[in-house]
Amino acid sequence: MSTVAMQQRTQRLPYRKAGTYLTLALVSVLVAFPLLLALSYSFMSESEIATFPPPVLPARPTFDNYGRVLATIPIGRYLLNSFVVSSVVVIGQLVTASLAAYAFSFLVFRGRQLLFFLFLSTLMIPWEATIIPNYMTIRSLGWLDTYQGLAVPFLATAFGTFLLRQAFLQIPRELWDAARIDGATTFRFLRDVVIPLSRPALGTVAIYGFLSTYNQYFWPLLVTNQTLMRTTQVGIAQLRFEETLRWGLVMAGVIMVAAPTLALLVLGQRQLIRGLTAGAVKG
């Protein structure tokens, strides 16, 4: 069907189009409903939340819950901790994965296949299956309640290496040959040519690394005990185990913790999608 014919067809069906939009809007709200509800509850007083039937929108919106979160838990510190750890992991992963991907794409050496397989094999090992020895390692290093304990185990990524290797392989071999003739060293070619040409893929690895580190729960729960070393996820979860559950407070905390990741979703959607679909679609 030509574009013109398609336009004519859709123009003839304005009701159908409106119906499509209505369906999309309804389903979108339904899917995002838990999140929207959390936002709504974060503006409700505890007494309003306790009314029956359960309210959906606040009658008198209030910011009190946000103030109370700040007074109840050191959420600023939690956010700082999470940002420090996630940033360190992102930078570390970009460095280690770029170097490794470069070796797996441009350098030729015996044993390369075997080493690449070794990297990929880490994808088959669930982190939870090695969590006991890893906890012992961090404890014996004296790294409990430290940033390095939270970050160092995650400074390498097989998935990111794989993704970057795919991107590096797209770079024309001629550039490499030309650079060699010009006398560029192996490392300079990586720094001056390969890295600048691979920004989109590096962006994907960065966003993916940030989100997965920021959203971690099990590991930070194990390796932190002091309140001030808690990350956001473990920090807000503490509100659940308080003696009286104050839902407005919990939801305000939830929104404060989820806001950075939602912002990242909106800003880096394209990179995220590329990362998620890399493994699924052959092409």
């Binding site: 838990p34 999140l35 170097l99 050496f109 090992i125 669930p126 939870e128 390498a156 939830v254």
Partner: protein
């Protein structure tokens, strides 16, 4: 084949570039995996230090343990409730989103929003929805004449509550992966089918589903592995209860290692977890992938 000096030199250069990542993997993946196997053969003290050789005792205990068997059941139920429904729901929504319309990206972002949501945030919100007195879920059910269950208190229902939360959490990923799959289907195939008189449901089952089968299969494996590893939502919703109904393998590892300090026994559970994930991955690579339709 003999290694020449040049071979060794180029390997040396390669290893320099691989060294940082390799170091992390060796220290935090390969050695710990070995240590997990090692620990599973020993009795351990509360500090985690090995005390005496246990041989296969822990594995024999696992086989005879009622708790572990119910843990396998809980994990299986969790996967059965979560994975198929999550994928079907994701496919329906992806088809809905796979239209050329103005502002379609707004809807795509909204429906995919759960990819950015952490399990902790998701679990806390659903905890509110499941709440017997304040929760909206049972109120909505009561409007259509259904008396909602006590979601987190009845053992058979609690695992369903955890599954619902997990379906919601993985929905964003499922939608995005399937949407990418749908967008890879050439328009000509639909055209040809339309000319042959295919419509609606038939088009969906005969064309769409087979054409996205690589994505469906990918999600089947990835989502199942994710369920096997799920910890946060269980910790925040049910803490493995009531009466061990949501004590999955991973949650069992947590309780046995970090609450009961039986590191040897918990390591044996970890070996079982590792084996399950390994088998799933091998199935993906070797067996089923060949039967799935590829372009």
């Amino acid at each position: 084949m003999r290694w020449t000096r040049r071979d060794l030199r180029s390997l040396g250069v390669g290893l320099v570039y691989l060294a940082p990542a390799l170091f992390i993997f060796v220290v935090f993946v390969f050695i710990p995996l070995g240590r997990t196997f090692y620990l599973s053969l020993f009795h351990t003290r509360v500090t985690g230090a090995t005390s005496s050789f246990a041989g296969l005792d822990h594995y024999i205990d696992l086989l005879t343990s009622e708790t572990f068997r119910s843990g396998l059941t809980a994990t299986g139920l969790f996967a059965v409730y979560t994975v198929p429904i999550g994928i079907i729901l994701g496919l329906v929504l992806a088809v809905l989103l796979n239209q050329r319309l103005r502002a379609i990206n707004v809807f795509r972002t909204m429906m995919a929003s759960t990819i950015a949501i952490s399990a902790a945030v998701g679990a806390l919100i659903w905890l509110l929805l499941f709440s017997p007195s304040l929760g909206l879920l049972n109120y909505v059910l009561s409007l259509v004449g259904i008396r909602g269950p006590e979601w987190l208190i009845q053992p058979t229902i609690a695992i369903i509550a955890v599954s619902i939360t997990t379906i919601w959490l993985t929905l964003g990923t499922n939608i995005i992966v399937l949407l990418a799959g749908l967008q890879g289907i050439p328009e000509e195939i639909y055209e040809a089918a339309r000319l042959d008189g295919a419509r609606g449901a038939r088009m969906f089952t005969r064309i769409t589903v087979p054409m996205v089968s690589p994505s469906l299969f990918f999600l089947l494996v990835v989502d199942t592995i994710a369920v096997l590893q799920a910890f946060t939502q269980i910790h925040l919703l049910t803490r493995g209860g009531p009466v061990d109904a949501t004590r999955t393998i991973v949650y069992g590892i947590y309780l046995d290692a970090f609450q009961n300090f039986q590191f040897g026994f918990a390591s044996a559970e970890s070996v079982v977890l590792f084996t399950l994930v390994l088998v799933l991955t091998i199935i993906q690579f070797r067996f089923v992938e060949r039967r799935v339709h590829y372009q």
